[in-house]
């Protein structure tokens, strides 16, 4: 039996060019399918776990998705801000354990700047309730100090002690707050969340750099030097959003109702886990379509294999007759053909997985910039499931030429008919 399989291998090797093309097709298709699966599970995980340990995210009334987009992902912009009085009222609500303000709108070379309080670094959790940690330095303590996300530091090559200036708005060439430079005091460890791409400063600093500004431009003739800003009241009038942690999670719905019906101004409170899940659901159709398409591509690849083997069979009628004369039964002929197809499929899937790994290594850093974090790791259970389904389909696809060879070997006997 082993010798017959070895013979099948040698025969396949003799046709390595045509089989190789079928193999490459299967490899590319498998790589595509595995990549889609990997991106969808990893992206979902990194996306829905970009914030945890926060019970409510609160902002001016808009849509839940929009609020999450700017409050957590720092993308897009708030249509309205919320008043500082509302923040103070909610922060002192008896059910609230802690509250962190968020103020967005400025940028640094394309990265968003977040004005917040130092408590942010203690309170914010990501992934499986992991705390933020510093890879260098410490949280900001002074007005003009900044803490950088790991990617900001890595991409722009900043180290603690460097000076940076913020620009007004997110445009990379927006007007600069050049008169009030910040000192980098800390760099956060990588988290795989939007935190990595954010410049964190004290909320007071956001007020400070806008003291002598109005309507998005410096006020002519009014320039307040950085060292004098302390003399001013740096309490902001408005913030973009706030994060709330509760003393007891059981209060979450009650407080949510309270905020959504807040009398001071129209506010919206969302539970981040629920909102992120909903947000992901809006992508679910895209995700499922992609998956279905790549499954179809795999089917096409395997159909190509069947076609290749079937087409080759006509040229191999002599080979089959010779094997018959040597004593091979239709069963052995059937097995040789099926094993060949299964082998090509298995090699294809293996090559596909290798292609995916190579793709993650080469394209991973590029994808990180878009917030998709792909880790180089052995296939997870769902991916093994896909591998098994590809192999099973490959086996079914190989049964067709196997069955055809069986028929031919019975019809031809020892003398091939052409």
């Amino acid at each position: 039996m082993r010798a017959v399989l070895l013979l099948a291998l040698k025969s396949a090797w003799a046709r390595r060019l045509t089989l190789g093309i079928a193999l490459v097709a299967i490899a590319l298709a498998s790589a595509l399918l595995l990549a889609v699966e990997r991106v969808r599970s990893d992206a979902r995980a990194s996306f829905t776990q970009s914030v945890s340990g926060v019970d409510l995210v609160v902002g001016a009334r808009s849509g839940a998705v929009q609020l999450m987009l700017y409050a957590v992902f720092h993308s897009g912009s708030a249509t309205n801000n919320m008043r500082w009085e509302s923040f103070e009222a909610l922060a002192t609500h008896p059910a609230v354990d802690w509250a962190v303000p968020l103020s967005l709108g400025d940028g640094h070379r394309g990265f968003p700047v977040l004005g917040t309080s130092a408590a942010y670094f203690d309170r914010l959790r990501y992934g499986d309730r992991q705390a933020l940690t510093f890879s260098a330095g410490k949280p900001f303590a002074e007005v003009f100090e900044a803490v950088l996300g790991s990617e900001v530091a890595a991409q722009l090559g900043y180290r603690p002690g460097d000076h940076i200036t913020l620009s007004h708005g997110m445009a990379e060439l927006g007007p600069e707050h050049a008169d009030k430079p910040f000192t980098v005091v800390g760099i956060l460890a990588p988290t795989g969340t939007p935190v990595d791409r954010t410049v964190h400063v004290d909320l007071a600093a956001i007020t400070a750099i806008h003291l002598d500004w109005a309507g998005g431009a410096p006020l002519p003739g009014l320039a307040i030097p950085a060292e004098q800003v302390r003399k001013f009241d740096l309490q902001p009038q408005e913030i973009t959003a706030m994060l709330i942690g509760l003393k007891s999670r059981g209060d979450v719905f009650r407080l949510q109702r309270h905020i959504n019906g807040y009398r001071g101004e129209p506010l919206l409170a969302v539970m981040p886990g629920v909102a992120l899940d909903e947000l992901w659901q809006t992508l679910a159709t895209v995700e499922q379509t992609l998956f279905a398409l790549s499954a179809l591509v795999v089917a096409v690849g395997l159909a190509g294999l069947t076609a290749t083997l079937l087409a080759g069979l006509n040229e191999r009628r002599r080979e089959l007759a010779i094997l018959r004369a040597l004593g091979a039964g239709p069963r052995e002929i059937f097995m040789m053909l099926t094993v060949e197809g299964l082998l090509v499929t298995a090699l294809g899937v293996f090559l596909g997985a290798a292609l995916l790994a190579a793709g993650i290594v080469t394209l991973g850093p590029l994808l990180r910039e878009y917030g998709v974090h792909l880790a180089l790791r052995p296939p997870a259970a769902n991916e093994w499931g896909l591998v098994v389904s590809i192999l099973t389909t490959g086996l079914l696809a190989s049964l067709v030429p196997g069955w055809r060879a069986w028929q031919i070997s019975l019809a031809d006997g020892l003398t091939p008919r052409n």
């Binding site: 010798a3 017959v4 013979l7 040698k10 025969s11 090797w13 003799a14 002599r318 080979e319 010779i322 018959r324 004369a325 040597l326 004593g327 091979a328 039964g329 239709p330 069963r331 019975l410 006997g413 020892l414 003398t415």
Partner: protein
């Protein structure tokens, strides 16, 4: 009457009809080949030659009658057992394209040892047996490792003969093995085949339409005379 054990091939009262045909294609009342006997079977195309080969190979079964090889009735065996029997006891040489083109000459000779344990054991050391046969059949060692596809037709037929002989099967069946060779090489090939089958003490059934090749055989039989179906159809 000859006892069947002394016969390499024995056919009695056999008829065979291909599926979906109304007339018998082959009807042989009596035909035998003795152990070690070398028989020239003269059969022009259309005389039922391919059918007889299929029956002798055990890939087809007669509707009636007996067909025995080396004392074993083929009709008593399952399809799988007939495949085994063919692998163990019968060597075939066909018209041309006998070899797997992607295997070396030597590996082609060794093929029967893959499919038959009996022939592997009888070959002793298969590698040495292959080398011995190839040397006897006058194939230079330089060619042994070459892929079969690169050999000339004459060389390929000699490799095919070596393959049919390895592991000493009791019966050798050659179907027009010289038709692809030019005239001077035809006789040389037949002489080699006769000598080697004699050395192996195998029965040789040599089927050809060319009666001029019959000179050196023990016996010549015309298939048309044996096959009543063909006679009936002709008259």
């Amino acid at each position: 009457m000859t006892h069947s054990v002394n016969q390499a091939i024995r056919i009695e009262e056999l008829t065979y009809r291909w599926p979906r045909q109304c007339a018998d294609c082959l009807a042989i009342s009596h035909f035998t080949v003795a152990h070690g006997e070398r028989v020239f079977l003269h059969g022009p195309s259309g005389s039922g030659k391919s059918t007889l080969l299929a029956l002798l190979g055990g890939v087809a079964l007669p509707q009636t009658g007996r067909i025995e090889l080396l004392g074993q009735p083929l009709t008593a065996l399952s399809a799988h057992a007939r495949d085994r029997f063919r692998a163990d006891h019968v060597g075939f040489v066909f018209q041309q394209f006998n070899l797997l083109p992607w295997l070396s000459a030597r590996d082609n000779v060794l093929l029967p040892c893959i499919f038959s344990t009996r022939r592997r054991e009888r070959a002793g050391d298969p590698q040495q047996a292959a080398a011995r046969l190839l040397t006897h059949l006058d194939l230079a060692p330089a060619l042994w490792q070459k892929p079969a596809a690169e050999l000339s037709v004459g060389q390929q037929q000699r490799v095919a003969a070596a393959r049919a002989l390895i592991g000493q099967p009791g019966i050798l069946i050659a179907d027009e093995p010289t038709s692809a060779l030019d005239a001077p090489r035809q006789q040389a090939f037949i002489d080699l085949l006769l000598a080697e089958t004699a050395a192996a003490n195998a029965a040789l059934l040599f089927v050809s339409h060319d009666v001029r090749l019959a000179a050196h055989f023990d016996r010549t039989v015309a298939l048309a005379e044996v096959n009543c179906a063909a006679t009936e159809a002709a008259t």
